[in-house]
Subunit: 419 residues, 3 copies
């Protein structure tokens, strides 16, 4: 029976991981649809590259950093960090946490080390994907990839350890964040904000008098496809974070998480659509897209405790928040072509804090957690991006931006036959 | 052992539900690709909104209406219909139908209530998605969403109860419809036809002499992506309708359903391609796309009984039917930009009736069922849409249509840099 | 317990099969994005048609040919090859290989015959998808579909039998190819090369002096979406090839395969991006896309033995290889619009050979295997395509190519409103 449970939970973990990996396609489509035509190939290339770099860096050092106290540290060679010196051909008969202990002493269920790594590695890629959207249209590619090396190899794992490796617990901070509204989404958004701080807005976004120019996305259905992909992938993101499906209680929890994840996204869409209708007389599709994502981010810190109806409300408030946040940041001179800082940052903070209401979490603990995650990630990222900018300018010149990053960075236009 | 079966079936149900949710992306892409460039943002917004409204309305009242006789009625608060007054943090240890009885007394297998709701809610969204395609290019958004409230909250559940809640059985009607060729697809198509009856064709579709103008889709590969997404999602739609995978018989049935679903779609594609070649000398890709969908709708009422070879034939006949039906409806003045009424309505009826041949169902029962579903849905939808049209005009003016619904309804063009 | 294992492995097989089916969408998007605007509808139609034909031909005769020695041959009617004379309504209580023997005497695990067929049929469609990319822009559709009939019904199964049906073993050749770097990918590429041999390059690709004209892809984000879809689908392709997940050893193996598949693709992307940067000063997105695919093909022959770090290296070398191979073939006058022959052929050979290093396979056996697969497929395909070309010209005329195959073959432009 234990063997079947091990098999079932491993199967579940890799399917959930595959769904989260699919979110990389979602970010790619969302960002490719939301940026201008001349920068599409570039954002696509960034997404392919950042995902790949995230996977490699997390394998090289990120996973170890994040789960430093893990008693399985000695087993890492089996998942490849020895760079080829050992293999896992001989299937490992040990069960993860079979001795009932990981860093913080909590039993997390049975599944293979490899499934654990696979499920974790796609999360770090998600965090990094948030950055690429915010810096679209004016950041050069090589420094972006360099930054990806530091964020995914060092910064994300360091703060990720606090929530999932036992860090907060060791510090006596009570922080509850089921699938990472703070640990993944806020982290990505704080890093994005740091880079944007150094990078500045796209040329042409702001006029000398401070007024804002609209720079509409080039391909709305593609952006919507991105939202749908993220929506689907999020079932793996939240559902997989239960880490187990093989018991009645965990299977029921998993299905509640799927249900709530779906309802929160629906709440976010409806809230933004009607907010847009009341405020502008029209239903803004880009707000609806961000509403879906905001709903998903909102429920990520606690997709298990609320009822479905509560999940709708949690998501709807997230949708309203992203609407306001996008307009506010744009006015404040923070250019974020896809609304990533609002959807993952502003709403990420809200998502963590609302667990005090939905899941009975300690409000002060939640607040301390988001403050630490945001501050550490922002400051560390700022340091890294300053250093990178010192070595090689991270901002494309005005001429390069005018011509489009597709030409200056990739050498290939996204839609060469469409004028 | 019972615990593992519960876990496995719940896991299966949420994976199948996730695949069906993915069909929302498929309808979005299909419709975005098949309408004109000026109406793409609008159809995308409609799809995001209708899916969200469907989920919320089914949570609020649809599920209860549909499974009114369900002995689990008292447990609804656990999946959220109490709007936040209760939670499911404490995983529910009860098994769905553990006492062997739902409304109609049939044992449906073990899995969580939440998984059951999640799998059901994505079906109602599918039905509503069918409507958006048929009304594309001339229906205003607010009345569309109002209609969605009524269809998904009341009309669909009412007739859905007949097949899956015990209604037909209570009336002594022998009706067999495994995954809903009638209950979902015909229902959606009948509602679409009702709305189109009031709405009329797009401006410019028909000339004064009754001749038809071609209004080709704006993005064929996007429409094809939609078809592929639907094809994939349909494995969840039909496969999940077995409701169980944890026994040798159910697992074998599930795999037969996957096999047949795939073969029927293949049959639909080949039939339409060669029909097009013989009739026009060319292979019409939009017919092939509708052929795939028609093949899938055809097999949905009985994806289990036929052999794979029979499934090809069932799908091929469905493909031929959709080809003829699209041309016929277009000629009759029924403007359906994506062919939804043909693919889901005409073929939905055929799909239910053909079960008499493939699955030995009672022909009269099948005929009575489709007649009741079509008549009730059409009449109820007609009443609702008349009432809505009385309060606010559902049809965009000629000027709005000329400018494109993207501008008048959404305020954002789908491809602003492409002229 | 055996029943649960049967259920779990069947569930796993159909989910893996669904992921592989999804690769059909990936090839469609990849090819639609990489060809010129005037040929997009046509390549989309080819992909819908070839997948459907592959499924039908494999049902009609391919599966039997490939597993001729299978003791279950007598049971084929149950999965439909009797074209409707029998059904599988009565779930088959027998377990596949329950007696421990298939053709080569290897026990392959428990799951239903239908799941086995479903998982196998999507592989043959993959092989055929490789051909459509290579012949894009100049091959007429009817001869293409005719060729699909022969490749999927006869040529692929014949050589597929060598690896998976016991053929190589019967010949005393030690050949190890876990998921088909050779059996699927090289086979598809060899067939593609044969067709291209007869077909010649697109009009306008080469000048009289032999110099090459760039014919850039029309929709880069769509091509990237294709790569992401393939990446996701490949988890099913490689992971499903373990054929079992219900034991600790197989579940662990499955998760190692998921991990390595992901890491190899990441390695391929990073290698091509930096190779492009060093050689051209820019990061070529089409090379990154092909790098991802090359990484995936590289690891397919042995995704189980290597550690994750080794998988990165295996994929990176595959990426470098595809880069060189694409430039080399283009120079040699072999026009391959999407780089399919390089990504699946050149890299497929490398993928099989590298198992000697990662998995300890016999180098001579691997070499013999790829030589036999490549030679047989190439020669058989050449014969078939010569014969087809004799009956009906396979090459579109210069005028048809200039107008675009969308107009001459499909009658529908892909983007009629975009000029």
């Amino acid at each position: 029976m234990e063997e079947i449970k091990f098999a079932l939970d491993t199967f579940y973990a890799v399917m959930a991981g595959a769904l989260v990996m699919w979110m990389a396609a979602g970010f790619t489509m969302l960002e490719a649809g939301m940026v201008q035509k001349k920068d599409v190939s570039e954002i696509v290339t960034k997404n392919l590259g950042l995902y790949s770099i995230a996977c490699i860096m997390y394998l090289v050092c990120g996973f170890q950093l994040m789960y430093a106290g893990d008693s399985n540290f000695g087993l890492f060679p089996e998942i490849g960090t020895s760079w080829g010196l050992s293999t896992a051909t001989e299937a490992d008969p040990m069960m993860y946490g079979a001795d009932g202990s990981i860093a913080d002493g909590t039993f997390v269920g049975y599944y293979s080390h490899q499934a654990d790594f696979f499920f974790q590695v796609v999360f770090v890629a998600t965090a990094m994907s948030i950055v690429s959207g915010a810096v679209a249209g004016r950041m050069k590619m090589l420094p972006f990839f360099l930054f990806a090396v530091f964020l995914t190899g060092f910064i994300y794992p360091t703060q990720g350890f606090w929530n999932w490796g036992g860090g907060f617990e060791g510090l006596g901070i009570s922080y509850s964040d089921y699938a990472g509204s703070g640990t993944v989404h806020l982290c990505g958004a704080a890093a994005a904000l740091a880079v944007v701080t150094v990078l500045g807005p796209r040329k042409g976004k702001y006029n000398y008098d401070g007024s804002v120019n609209s720079m509409p996305g080039s391909n709305i259905p593609m952006a919507a496809l991105g939202a749908w992909i993220l929506w689907l992938g999020w079932f793996g993101f939240n559902g997989g974070s239960e880490l187990k499906v093989s018991e009645v209680s965990s299977a029921t929890a998993v299905s509640q998480v799927f249900l709530n994840t779906n309802m929160a996204a629906a709440g976010g869409v409806v809230a933004t659509l009607f907010m847009s209708l009341f405020l502008t007389g029209k239903m803004d599709v880009t707000m609806a897209i961000n509403g879906a994502i905001a709903g998903l981010v909102s429920i990520t810190a606690d997709p298990l405790s609320p009822s479905g109806g509560t999940a709708v409300l949690v998501g709807a408030i997230g949708g309203a928040l992203v609407y306001v946040s996008i307009l506010f940041l744009e006015k404040k001179g923070i250019d974020d072509p896809v609304g990533a800082i609002s959807a993952h940052g502003t709403v990420g903070i809200y998502g963590v804090l609302v667990v005090s209401l939905t899941g009975g979490a300690d409000f002060l603990g939640q607040l301390t957690g988001v403050a630490m995650i945001a501050a550490f990630t922002y400051i560390a990222s700022l340091g890294v991006i300053y250093a990178i900018n010192f070595v090689m300018p991270i901002r494309a010149t005005d001429e390069e931006q005018d011509a489009g990053l597709d030409i200056s960075e990739v050498g290939i236009e996204a839609y060469p036959e469409f004028d």
